[in-house]
C-alpha cells in the first residue's frame, strides 16, 4: 500500500521557517505533483518525506506508521534525483541492483528483479554499459529502475525531467504516466514546470512560501483557483489581472466596474455587500475574444506574435498591474500600436477580494473534468 499523511509538517533552518505547517492526505495509487516557484519549499518537503531532511514539527505517516525518525530505507520510499545520482563506476546492472546488494539479497533474486525492472524500462540491452555511455533519457530510466527494484510504497521524484531537452521531456512524461499505471504505485513528483504538473498529476499541490496554496485536480486549479497566487501560477501565459470596483452582488453574480467605466457581471457565488470594494478581476489570455462579448477593453499591443494557430499580443492596459496578454484564435488582425477592442465574458472571469482570495465561480468541475464525468 502507499498511503501518505502529512500533519502540520514544519521545517525551520535556525530562525527561518521554510515549511510552515503542511497538511496533506495522499491515497494509494495517486500521482501527486508538488509545484511552485523556486524557493517555495517543494523540494524540501519532498526531502522531508524521503528522510533526507529532519522534520522540525508535525508528523509524516506512511501506511499508518509515523516515520518522522526513521531512516529513508525504513520508510518504504524510493527516490529519483534530479541529477540521476547514478554511480559512475558501476554498470547499469549494478546501479539498478545497488539497493538489493545493500539488502544482501541472493544473486538469483537480484538477477530476477533487475531483469524485470530493465524489461519495464527497456534497458535490457544496456545492462552492461556504464552510465557515462547512456543518453540523458536512459540515465533517467536507470535511476527509475533503481527505485523500482525496491518495490516501495511511495515513489518520490525530485524534478526528474528538468535535465532533459524538451522533446525527451515530453516523451519521458508519457512514459512516467504509463509507469504509474503499470506499477499501481503512489508517486509524489516535484516540478516547477506546470505543463508536467497539469499533464501527469491526479492532484496538484501548489506551494507558496512554505504553505499549501491549493490542492486540487489540474482542471480544478485551472477553473477554480482559490487565490491570486494559484490563479497567476497555473496557466500559460499567465492570467491577466485588472483592478476593478465592486458594484452589487446578486444571484447571477457580482457586478463590477472596469477602469473604463463599463460594467461587467462576473459569474461567481453571491457575496455580501461589495459596492465600493476594490476587487481584482482575473481573465485568462485565451478567454479574450475579438467578437461580441459582455464588455470590452481597448488594448494597444506593444508586441504581437503570430503563431498561426494563435495570435498573442502583449500590451499595457489601465488598471492592469503587469503586461496584459491576450491569446486570440487564428491570425487575428492585431497590429503593434493600433488599438483593438478586446472582449471578455463574465462567465470566463475570476474575481478576487482585497486579500487575494477568490470568490467561488459558478462553474461545476464535474461538467468540465472528464475524470469526473460519468459517461
Amino acid at each position: 500500500m502507499g498511503e501518505l499523511q502529512l500533519r502540520d509538517v514544519r521545517k525551520s533552518y535556525g530562525q527561518v521557517e521554510v515549511i510552515k505547517g503542511v497538511d496533506l492526505d495522499v491515497d494509494h495509487g495517486e500521482f501527486i505533483v508538488f509545484v511552485g516557484p523556486s524557493g517555495c519549499g517543494k523540494s524540501t518537503l519532498l526531502r522531508m518525506i524521503a528522510g533526507l531532511e529532519e522534520i522540525t514539527g508535525g508528523d509524516i505517516t506512511i501506511d499508518t506508521k509515523v516515520v518522522n525518525n526513521l531512516p529513508p530505507v525504513k520508510r518504504g520510499i524510493a527516490m529519483v534525483f534530479q541529477s540521476y545520482a547514478l554511480y559512475p563506476h558501476m554498470s547499469v546492472y549494478e546501479n539498478i541492483a545497488f539497493p538489493l546488494r545493500v539488502e544482501r539479497l541472493p544473486n538469483d533474486k537480484v538477477e530476477e528483479k533487475v531483469q524485470n525492472a530493465a524489461g519495464i524500462l527497456q534497458l535490457t540491452e544496456r545492462l552492461q554499459h556504464k552510465p557515462g555511455e547512456l543518453s540523458g533519457g536512459q540515465r533517467q530510466r536507470v535511476a527509475i529502475g533503481r527505485a523500482i527494484v525496491r518495490e516501495p510504497s511511495v515513489f518520490l521524484f525530485d524534478e526528474p525531467l528538468s535535465n532533459l531537452d524538451a522533446a525527451l521531456r515530453a516523451e519521458m512524461r508519457v512514459e512516467l504516466a504509463k509507469l504509474h499505471n503499470d506499477l499501481d504505485a503512489t508517486m509524489i513528483y516535484v516540478t516547477h514546470d506546470q505543463v508536467e504538473a497539469m499533464t501527469m498529476a491526479d492532484r496538484i499541490v501548489v506551494l507558496d512560501q512554505g504553505v499549501i496554496s491549493q490542492v486540487g485536480t489540474p482542471l480544478e486549479l485551472y477553473h477554480k483557483p482559490q487565490n491570486l497566487f494559484v490563479a497567476g501560477f497555473i496557466g500559460n501565459p499567465k492570467m491577466n489581472f485588472i483592478q476593478v470596483t465592486g458594484k452589487k452582488s446578486g444571484e447571477d453574480g457580482v457586478t463590477v466596474e472596469l477602469p473604463s467605466g463599463q460594467e461587467l457581471t462576473v459569474k461567481v457565488k453571491a457575496q455580501g455587500d461589495v459596492s465600493g470594494r476594490s476587487l481584482k478581476l482575473g481573465i485568462r489570455p485565451e478567454h479574450l475574444t475579438l467578437g461580441a462579448a459582455d464588455a470590452s477593453i481597448d488594448v494597444v499591443p506593444n508586441v504581437v506574435e503570430h503563431l498561426g494557430i494563435h495570435t498573442v499580443t502583449y500590451s499595457s492596459v489601465a488598471g492592469a498591474s503587469s503586461t496584459f496578454c491576450s491569446v486570440l484564435q487564428g491570425s487575428a488582425p492585431a497590429k503593434v500600436g493600433v488599438a483593438v477592442a478586446t472582449g471578455l465574458n463574465g462567465a470566463d472571469c475570476h474575481l478576487f477580494d482585497e486579500n487575494g482570495n477568490a470568490f467561488e465561480r459558478q462553474v461545476s468541475i464535474a461538467a468540465l473534468d472528464p475524470a469526473e464525468m460519468h459517461i
Binding site: L52, P71, P72, Q82, A85, Y87, H89
Partner: protein, 280 residues
C-alpha cells in the same frame, strides 16, 4: 581559444622551456655521466663531458663495495610503502568526514592540520627522539615509519578533502535512501568515484615519505640493516675518498622506484588535478 604564435614567440617559449629543463635535469645528467666515469678521470680539468674508459662498471661494483645496498633500497621502498598505506588508512576516512559531516570545531581542526604542516619534521626531532627513547622504540622500523606517517596525513587530508567536496552530494543521498550505511557508501561509492584523487594523494604521500625518511633514519636508527637508502649511501664515503661514481650509480638506481610509481600513476595525477575544473 584560437591563438597563433609568431615565429619569434615560439623561439622565446622554447628557449624558456630549455632553460628550465636545463636547470631541472642538469644534476641528473651530471650524476649519470659521473656514474659512468672511472674515479681517476672524475676531476679532470678542463671539464670534459666525454672521458675515456666510460663504462657501466660502477653499477656492478657498487653491490660488492656496499653489500647491503639492496637491503637499503628495499628498506627505503618498504618504509615509504608502509607510510603511504598507513597514511591512506587515516587520510581517506578523515578527508571524507571533513568534506561531508558537520561537527564542532571542524574548521579549527582543519586549520590545525595545516599548521602542523608548517613545521618541518626536523623541528620535532629532539622531542621525538626523547619519546622514542622512553618507549624503547629507537632502532626499529616503527621509529622511522610513525613520524613519517604523521607528517603525510595533514597534506593528504587537505588534498583529498578538496577532491571529495566536488563529488555530488546526491550520490551519497541516493545510497542513503537505498539503505546503505556510511561505511558501505564510503567503500562502495565514494572511494571508487574518488579514485583519481586518492591516487594523487598516494603519489604525494609516497614521494614525501621517500624523501623525508633520511632525517628520521639518521636520528632514530643506528642499526645498519634497517637503514634506508639515503643513509646507506654514506657507506660510499670512505675515510680518504668518496666513491663518487658508485655513489651516483646507487642514487640513480634508488630513484627508480619513485620513477616507476610516478610513471604508472601519472595519468591519474593529471586527471585528478584537473577534475571538476571544467563542467563536463
Amino acid at each position: 581559444m584560437l591563438h597563433k604564435y609568431r615565429w619569434y614567440e615560439y623561439v622565446l617559449i622554447y628557449s624558456g622551456v630549455a632553460v628550465f629543463l636545463t636547470f631541472v635535469l642538469a644534476p641528473f645528467v651530471e650524476a649519470f655521466v659521473v656514474s659512468l666515469r672511472p674515479l681517476s678521470s672524475l676531476f679532470s680539468i678542463p671539464y670534459r663531458f666525454i672521458t675515456d674508459e666510460m663504462s657501466f662498471d660502477a653499477y656492478f661494483t657498487m653491490w660488492q663495495n656496499v653489500p647491503l645496498l639492496w637491503m637499503y633500497m628495499l628498506n627505503s621502498f618498504f618504509i615509504a610503502t608502509v607510510v603511504t598505506v598507513l597514511g591512506l588508512i587515516c587520510i581517506i576516512p578523515a578527508a571524507y568526514a571533513f568534506s561531508r559531516f558537520e561537527f564542532p570545531a571542524r574548521n579549527t581542526l582543519l586549520g590545525l592540520f595545516i599548521a602542523v604542516n608548517m613545521f618541518s619534521g626536523a623541528v620535532l626531532i629532539i622531542p621525538l627522539f626523547k619519546l622514542m627513547q622512553q618507549y624503547g622504540l629507537l632502532n626499529t622500523y616503527f621509529a622511522m615509519i610513525a613520524p613519517g606517517t604523521a607528517f603525510v596525513i595533514p597534506t593528504g587530508i587537505w588534498l583529498l578533502r578538496s577532491y571529495l567536496v566536488r563529488i555530488p552530494k546526491e550520490l551519497e543521498e541516493a545510497a542513503w535512501v537505498d539503505g546503505a550505511g556510511k561505511i558501505y557508501t564510503l567503500v562502495r561509492v565514494i572511494i571508487p568515484v574518488a579514485l583519481p584523487g586518492i591516487v594523487v594523494v598516494t603519489i604525494t604521500a609516497f614521494i614525501t615519505a621517500y624523501a623525508q625518511q633520511f632525517i628520521y633514519a639518521l636520528t632514530f636508527n643506528s642499526v645498519n640493516e634497517l637503514n634506508p637508502l639515503p643513509v646507506g649511501l654514506f657507506q660510499f664515503f670512505g675515510r680518504q675518498s668518496v666513491v663518487w661514481n658508485e655513489l651516483m650509480a646507487a642514487s640513480l638506481v634508488g630513484i627508480l622506484p619513485v620513477l616507476f610509481v610516478y610513471v604508472f600513476l601519472q595519468r591519474y595525477i593529471v586527471a585528478g588535478l584537473t577534475a571538476g575544473a571544467v563542467k563536463e
